[in-house]
């Protein structure tokens, strides 16, 4: 197997720019390995004819000034791709072929990237292990019986297994950062509004954000730069100038104040995670940062708040799947209402139905104040916790997840234990902040663990810089042995 595809995105871009490799050659290397890696089940759809055609076109007239010149990329199957099936991991959209392109993917193609295929994910991005996908479990290349995390599980698995040089996911409660942590890769959830949501299959609109998943922090800055930008088609898109994250990346973090929230030291957290957190603190301290203890008192209420807000928004977003305009339609039922009920019963999987029912209930007459309004109030308190502390610190360091990758089937019978995976990532979505997960070490099983850096609103550059400095001094090495080939 070629050594070239093990390289980071930024190294591949250099090779293309120096004309040491052609786009078509690179595409063929990935296609070759994807074809041999079906066991991982990380791809739902491939479009290799398109990839080769586009890479040939690129090689004929290469634009080497773009950010992603002729780079083949696979994306999470939640981004609508014009003319290519977009399933959201659901039977409901098994045969759905969008007639338009999502803004974020369009931005990648404008920068020279070429679509390789669509990556598996939890159904409608609802899950933390990729086990809710209608298209089957995804395997973590770390070890054959482990989950890659979720919901961007196919993205994380494909990236770690060198089946794409970089990728994009979406993060509603941790769906980029948790799988990044589980696979020893870098994942960033941008500030709410930095990347357009237009053309992304909606889960919870006040929380959803697209973001990059990469092998290095530098790669992450390149991808973010390519994806981000104002879009008038998304009413919550932030109007601001484009930033050059990759050019402005630096390792000098002297004098930066890094907060350590005591509430993130949760009960039953494995000792290894605590040790890793301490390692992170001492690396940043040695680089000249000030480590400051802080308190985010409402942290424990973030998950219960999330499990009201996210299902409520999901229940209204998913009301559109009625078997009329697009998607699956049941053949059973004597009238329109029965057709709706059967379509939604047969088309959605168990976890999606569970969340639609929770959401419907918390929004229903007589319960709205007790649940939904209450959750919006607590969300305010969670946001205030961060606002108050960002007067005192520049970034916050926490573990990314309360454990390393777990076994397939280990948590599927207990929804709450599955939800607890996102305990460190969910508060960030509720507050709309940017956060990045960087690989930090291996546990005793040899499975990767990540640390999370949380930043102020639109302070992506700062957390990228801290992560970059951390990465350079941490010496993390992913140990993936290609056992599935």
């Amino acid at each position: 197997m070629s050594e070239i595809i093990k390289k980071n995105l930024s190294e591949l871009i250099d090779l293309i720019k120096k004309k040491e490799i052609k786009s078509e050659e690179l595409a063929n290397l990935y296609i070759n390995k994807v074809n041999k890696s079906k066991k991982l089940n990380s791809y739902i759809t491939t479009c290799f004819e398109h990839t080769i055609q586009k890479s040939k076109e690129f090689d004929k007239k290469p634009n080497l000034n773009s950010l992603l010149p002729g780079v083949p990329l696979a994306v999470k199957d939640l981004f609508c791709t014009n003319g290519f099936k977009t399933t959201a991991g659901s039977k409901m959209l098994e045969n759905f072929i969008p007639q338009y392109e999502s803004t974020v993917t369009e931005n990648l193609w404008k920068e020279g990237a070429i679509l390789l295929g669509k990556l598996n994910c939890d159904e409608y991005a609802m899950g933390s292990s990729n086990e809710t996908s209608y298209f089957g479990n995804v395997i973590n290349p770390i070890a054959k019986d482990t989950v890659p995390g979720g919901s961007s599980g196919g993205s994380a698995s494909a990236l770690a297994a060198d089946l794409t040089p970089a990728t994009i996911g979406t993060d509603t409660g941790g769906s980029i950062r948790q799988p990044a942590s589980f696979t020893g890769t870098v994942g960033l959830k941008p500030t709410y509004g930095l990347c357009s949501r237009w053309g992304i299959v909606a889960f919870a609109s006040s929380l959803d954000q697209a973001g990059p998943m990469t092998k290095s922090v530098k790669d992450c800055s390149i991808m973010l730069e390519a994806m981000a930008g104002f879009d008038k088609k998304d009413s919550t898109s932030i109007e601001k100038k484009k930033e050059n994250y990759s050019k402005n990346l630096k390792t000098d973090i002297k004098g930066l104040k890094i907060g350590i929230p005591k509430e993130y030291r949760v009960e039953n957290m494995p000792k290894e995670i605590d040790e890793l957190w301490n390692k992170g603190k001492s690396i940043l301290k040695d680089l000249g940062a000030d480590i400051i203890d802080i308190s985010l008192p409402h942290t424990k209420y973030a998950l219960p708040t999330y499990y009201i807000v996210a299902p409520a928004e999901a229940s209204s977003n998913l009301a559109r799947y009625d078997g009329v305009k697009y998607g699956y339609r049941s053949s059973k039922g004597n009238d329109l209402i029965e057709m709706y009920e059967n379509t939604r019963s047969e088309g959605f999987g168990d976890e999606v139905k569970r969340r639609i029912l929770i959401g419907t209930y918390v929004l229903s007459s007589g319960y709205y104040d007790a649940y939904y309004l209450k959750a919006q109030k607590v969300r305010q308190l969670i946001k205030k916790d961060f606002d108050e502390n960002f007067g005192k610190v520049d970034a916050i360091l926490t573990p990314s997840t309360p454990s390393s990758a777990f076994k397939i089937g280990e948590k599927t019978n207990d929804p709450i234990s599955m939800y607890l995976n996102d305990i460190f990532t969910v508060p960030v979505n509720l507050a709309g902040l940017p956060a990045i997960s960087v690989p930090a070490g291996l546990d005793k099983k040899g499975y990767p663990l990540g640390l999370q850096l949380i930043g102020k609103t639109l302070d992506e550059q700062n957390i990228l810089n801290v992560a970059y400095a951390f990465e350079k001094n941490c010496n993390f090495k992913n140990e993936i042995k290609n056992w599935w080939l």
Binding site: K232, Y326, S345, L357, Y361, S364, L373, K374, V378, I416
Partner: protein, 95 residues
């Protein structure tokens, strides 16, 4: 809040999802434990807290009420499970 079979029937009707009766017991059990988890929020006094309805500091933008696309009927119909020329087809609604 404990969720029983009747409540499941009521919510699933509102959500337009038919639930197999042999699945509603386990669903009721799951939802009960999720609501127990959610109800931790009741420990907090939020009487004087403003609900957060948008994370953005600026109000949502509005646009002029002007047609900015159109002539995409075929694209709109492209993915419909059942169509007849330029119409979506649904089961009979009016007797």
């Amino acid at each position: 809040m404990s969720i029983d079979k009747d409540k499941i029937k009521h919510i699933s009707k509102l959500a337009r999802i038919s639930i197999d009766s042999n699945k509603s017991d386990s669903l009721a059990k799951d939802l009960t434990s999720i609501f127990k988890f959610i109800e931790q929020l009741n420990e907090l006094n939020t009487d004087k807290v403003e609900p957060l309805s948008s994370i953005l500091n600026t109000p949502l933008r509005s646009r002029e009420d002007k047609i900015n696309d159109g002539k995409i009927r075929d694209k709109v119909l492209e993915n419909s499970p059942k169509k007849n020329e330029e119409f979506f087809v649904v089961p009979k609604v009016i007797e």
